[in-house]
Symmetry: C3
Amino acid sequence: MSIQYILELSGTGFFALSGALAANEKSKPDWFGVTFIGFITSIGGGSIRDMLLGSYPLSWVADINRMYIIISAIVFSSVFYNLLKKQRKLFFIFDSLGIAMFTILGTEKALLFHVNPIIAAIMGMFTAIMGGVMRDVLTNEIPVVFRKEIYATACLAGAAFYMMLNALHINREICLIFSVLVIIAIRIVAVKYNLSLPQFKRDE
Amino acid sequence: MSIQYILELSGTGFFALSGALAANEKSKPDWFGVTFIGFITSIGGGSIRDMLLGSYPLSWVADINRMYIIISAIVFSSVFYNLLKKQRKLFFIFDSLGIAMFTILGTEKALLFHVNPIIAAIMGMFTAIMGGVMRDVLTNEIPVVFRKEIYATACLAGAAFYMMLNALHINREICLIFSVLVIIAIRIVAVKYNLSLPQFKRDE
Amino acid sequence: MSIQYILELSGTGFFALSGALAANEKSKPDWFGVTFIGFITSIGGGSIRDMLLGSYPLSWVADINRMYIIISAIVFSSVFYNLLKKQRKLFFIFDSLGIAMFTILGTEKALLFHVNPIIAAIMGMFTAIMGGVMRDVLTNEIPVVFRKEIYATACLAGAAFYMMLNALHINREICLIFSVLVIIAIRIVAVKYNLSLPQFKRDE
């Protein structure tokens, strides 16, 4: 088992867990609803990327381990529900790790299809955020990504950084680690100093 | 025309009909809106399954009969609107038949792609419920499947039962009929005794 | 550069612009949110058509010019925001041109896959309206297309007209121009005389 695979599975599990908690907070669905939304949050971003690229089979369809991780994560989130709700800081770290990993792995996958770097960065960002967008649509909320601190923008910056390092023929593992760190660093700075993108326009 | 094909077309028609009635109840759209939502309710689940599996062409794209059935169902639902609104029991039976058929046929199709049985059951359930999920998202409602009596869970159980019978090399028609009956039986019991899955967690 | 390509790029740009303005009006997202929604409005319809047909690669994935046009359109909509908000009439013309072009080009693309004419007309209409439907779902609104004056219906009529001319072996450019004009004419008449499709059914 490669390090990349372990990181992918961890990202999958964490996204399922955060999806389940968010779903329960918002609309109090039953066990099926929570599991369904956790599942979609977890595999939604990668599925959209793969369907846009025409990359078949989808990873969760081909690799059953991801399903085991998702189910375990949801059971775990039920058992430790009240404990987990209080760990806002821990959550932030896991979430940042998840989106950072998913962004870079998504960008790499898109590059296998020889797309333009801009498209590859968008595919990386989609991998990271689209699960959450679908979770918000299903729970009837305006996607949080449209308003949150520099979130998706950090993904795009990390993807660009990864491709820059890549173009310099730097060792893949180093590219990967450094661009993940860039995404996490941007998020930490954004939250610490309460940075956000400016609002588009106010009506006068 | 095989019995399976007749059952598939009936399921398609009934889903269009129930989608049209539900759409009209919720947001009073015009004729186009009702037709559009009926259409999505009917072909949405199968389309998502096929796009997730990479199974082209999609059945409604390749077979125009489905479109004729959908259009007929929507005209029918308009003509007999007030009559149909009162037939809650009849509706429940048709709806149960529809989801049961779609679940088993969707599971069968996924198995053709040599996926893991868990994935096949999920694809079967998606075939049955995703049209309704899309209908609810389009009419700006939280999907009813997240709260309803044992609905999607019955699909998963039926799919599992189908694969179990299948593994015993039992005749396909018999597998099909018995697993459809299992799904319908679970739903009837759930409604009669007001069973539902437990809520995930309450905040303390 | 063919005339068709120029028209396609113009349609792409205009849809991004109108998506950005609509997004900002509704939920005041930040710059990322507006850009994201403008992007989805612009490429959503064509992407859904291509994923339903299994036509890979998607046009915006293969052709980076579309991305440049989208980004330019969003910057443009920010700079001239207050000016653009007042130009309702200009908007209506651009919007009509956009949906008309997208309908006919989408219908043409579907015909390359040898689908039934009804399916081709639906694919054309999807190309024109699905970006807007996704924009409305993301901003938590019931899709405007379900209630608006003869909008999607005009697309279907134009697609049918295009295929009729086509069947008469008339020169492609002429087919294209005339069916675009048919769609625009229907919309102008519908708005001028306040025509709309009848509501489906009222409960008695």
